[in-house]
Every structure is written in C-alpha cells, then in structure tokens.
Amino acid sequence: MDYLASVFAVWIRLYPSLMTGFAITVSLALAAVPLALAGGLVLLPLRMWSGRLVRALAGTYIEFMRNTPLLLQIYLIYFGLPLFGLFPSEFTCGVIGIALQHSAFLVEIYRGGIEAISQRQWEAARAIGMVRYTALRHIILPQAALRILGPIGNQLIILVKDTSLVSAIGVAELTMTGKVAIERLAATLEIFVAIGLLYLLLTSALGAGLRIIERRVSEWLG
C-alpha cells in the first residue's frame, strides 16, 4: 500500500502542471471540433457535386487526408509552412492538422448518412411536388441527421484522443506535460496512468454530452 501512497504523492506533486496541460488539451479540442465539423460541411457539397471533375478532386483530397498519418500531416504543416514564410504558432498548426484530417472523415460520415436514405424517399418527395432543396431539407436531412449522430460522436472522441499527437511539435498539452514529467521523475507508469485517467475523464464527458444531444434530437424529430 505504501506504493499506492507514493503514486498519489507523484500525482499531487504533478497536479498543477498536469492541469495546465489538461487545459491546453481541452483548448485544442474546443478549437478543433467546430472547425472539423464545419470543414466537413464545406467539403460535403463538393464531394457530392454533380460535375465529375469537382467530385473527383474533392474525393482525391479526402482520400489523401484520410489515408496518411495525422502525425505526418502535423509535421508537414508545422515544418512545411515556414518554407513559404509562414510561421503560425505550434498550437495553430496542431489545430489545423487535426481539423483537416477529421473533417475528411466527417464528410464521409455525412455523405454516408445522406446516401443511406432510400432513393424512393427522394422520388416520393418529388412526386408530391417538392423541389430538390425542399426534399433535402424536410425529408432527407432529418432522417440522415439521426443516423449520423452516433458515428459523429465516435469521430469526435477519436479527435480528442488525437490531440496527443500535437505533442510532437512541442505543444505543451497533456501528453507532452506527462513526457516532461517522466523525464524528470523517472516515474513512467504512474504518470501515464494519471494522463490516461484525465483523457478518460474528458472523452467520457464528451460521450455523455453527445448522448444527451442524440436523445434531444431524436425526441425533437419524433
């Protein structure tokens, strides 16, 4: 039991620095989540464009963003932009990297949700005289929204955990704070467990929030 006491002693000693790191992780997530959600919405019409060229270009971009490692993308943004004379802060580079990759995943979730609605619903809506926009707005989107909420929640939880990759470019977020503390105290396991619990706290809170939203939306849509 005296070992557990020493673990708690490490945790108490690190409490201020871990909280600072935790606050930066939360800020990263708060900045990246809306950007990723909005980025997906921007890409969505391009990905579903009727013209083949635009659709192919959007598709290629999305595949590139989805199929290369986020760590690599963050490195490219952080160390690549200076070659063009741009020096955004490491925090900004991290947020951009995370938002870009996750918007590419999110647009596919949006698209999947819309395409999953039967073609007959479109035909029925058009048959009773709705124009394409009205059909989309009143028939297709409400049904699609309900179906994609779950997958979106999943994606956002992955996003929150991905913020740890930003430690590679020197953002002093939770994982980085932990790595620095490990270097100092040589207490690897104790510190990784503390960090793990803090991530768990954050993703659990996010998950709980998302479940409430999902319930509200389903009640609202009947």
Partner: protein, 282 residues
C-alpha cells in the same frame, strides 16, 4: 439513469484496477530486498549474457549505422562491461527502448542495466540507481550558420526562441542563462534540429558530442564558441535494492574512468569523439 450509474462504476473500477496493477508491479520489485533472492549479478552470470537497455535515436551514443547495426559510444561501453563479466564482449543482448520505457524496464527487471545518454538527476535517483558518471559530455548551443547570435548572452532576447528536449535540465539551464528567450520543447533531437533549420527556433541545446556528430553532415549549422559550463554526468542506471550488482557496475565504471580499463575506455572515446578524454579523477 442506470446507464449513467453503470458508467460511474466502470470508471471507478478502471481507476482502482490501474492502481492495483501498479501496486502489483511494485511488490514484485520489492522482493529483491530479500537477501534470499539472487542479485542480478548472479542471475546474469547464470544466464550467460547480459541484457542492456540502449537507444537507437541519439548518435553518436546509440544509433543504427548504414549496415543496419546498432553502434555508438554507449553500446561500446556496454560491451566493455559485458567483457568485464564474461571476458567476452559478445555475451550481450542489446535491447532498444524508448526514453520513457527505460524506467519501468529497469524497475521490473526487463533489462539488467541501461546505458542511453541518461543524465544523473536527483529526482530520477528516487526511482532508479545510477553508477558514477562514465562521461561528462558538455552542453552546447547550435544555431544556423547565418545567425547573428554569437554568445549565450546574445540569445537572451524576447525575439529569440530556443528548442529544448524534454530533459528537465535543459529548461533549467535555459531559465538561468537566457530567461528572456522563448522556449520550445520537443521529444526528439531530430525535431530540435528541424526547428532550427526551418526558422522555428533560433538555437537548440544539445549534448556536445551529439551536436558535433550532426554537424559533420550538416554544414548549415554552427556551434556557439561559448560552451555551457555545466557538468552533465551520464550514468549507467539499474534497479534499486541490489547492492552487489550496483557495486559491480560502479566499479566497472571507476576502472574505465581511471583504472585497469582506462586504455579500452580511451580507445572507445577516441573512436566516437575524435579526441582523447580528459583524464578523469580515479
């Protein structure tokens, strides 16, 4: 409501489980205080080879060469220790490990000892034991060749940024020597260099041999003529509570630094750093 309660219980369960797992690893380690348990020295001799934790990410101390072999100053010192145990420097298993992994691997006995550019630091000694230093590497600052910075004092301006490694001593030195500069922290030496190369940082702080090694192939950098005066003792690290093993390793290091193994040590030093070591206090 039930789902929420379940969730809380699960969370608590996980936390308690994690704590228990930690406690378990520790009680296994604590057994070594029992005199009936064999020392690592006996274990290693019975096994017929010694398992050493090393890095492959810090040339010239430990890295993979063009032939794909793990080489470096630390590796050669480890082999010298293996030779001291068995009279044969091939009776060694080199285990590559990440910097964060070296502490638990030492505590749970996965490695017999570690030697990987590890600075002796009081907080660390609470967790693992160190031998006396086997090298004082010296610390330098590296800037781009075209940088206006000439001295350490020049760096002490708010418009300059210095790239540090996660090692605690680097930031402490920075706060003392150039407190007005902005600091950046990376977890890899290559990222420190990239930061300087691409203008993310004005300078980076490095162990002198590491810096000199990189500079051989990268003429676009230069080392500030003014070296940091700090003593940085790198030590061999091992599990606490094993006096016999610690005494053996510490004696080996003492013999290398100024005793019967000094000529071997000197040859290794010359091979990797191109100069002879300052004769250490015996």
């Amino acid at each position: 409501m039930t789902s929420r309660r379940n969730f809380v219980t699960t969370g608590l369960g996980l936390a308690v489980g994690a704590g228990a797992a930690l406690a378990e690893t520790r009680s296994a380690a604590a057994q070594s205080t029992d005199p009936a348990v064999k020392s690592k020295l006996d274990e290693v001799r019975a096994r017929g080879k010694v398992i050493v934790g090393v890095t492959s990410e810090a040339p010239p101390f430990g890295f993979v060469d063009e032939k794909g072999e793990l080489v470096g100053f630390d590796i050669d010192v480890a082999k010298l220790i293996a030779k001291g145990i068995f009279g044969d420097d091939t009776k060694i298993e080199l285990m590559k490990q990440g910097f964060a992994a070296r502490w638990p691997n030492t505590q749970n006995g996965t490695i017999d000892f570690g030697i990987m550019v590890t600075t002796i630091y009081p907080d660390r000694v609470l967790q693992v034991a160190f031998t006396r230093p086997y090298i004082d590497s010296g610390i330098v600052l590296v800037v781009r060749k075209d940088s206006p910075v000439k001295t350490i004092a020049d760096l002490n301006k708010a418009e300059y940024t210095v790239a540090h490694l996660t090692a605690p001593v680097q930031e402490e030195r920075g706060k003392r020597l150039y407190p007005n500069a902005k600091f950046l922290t990376f977890d890899a030496i290559s990222a420190q260099f990239n930061a300087v190369k691409l203008g993310r940082a004005t300078a980076c702080q490095l162990d002198a041999p590491v810096a000199l090694y990189y500079l051989k192939d990268n003429p676009e950098y230069r080392v500030l003529d003014e070296w940091l005066t700090d003593v940085t003792g790198n030590g061999v690290f091992l599990r606490h509570d094993d006096f016999k093993w610690w005494l053996f390793l510490d004696t080996m290091v003492a013999e290398m630094m100024g005793g019967s193994r000094y000529s071997d040590y000197k040859a290794i030093y010359k091979k990797w750093f191109g100069v002879e070591p300052k004769r250490a206090r015996a």
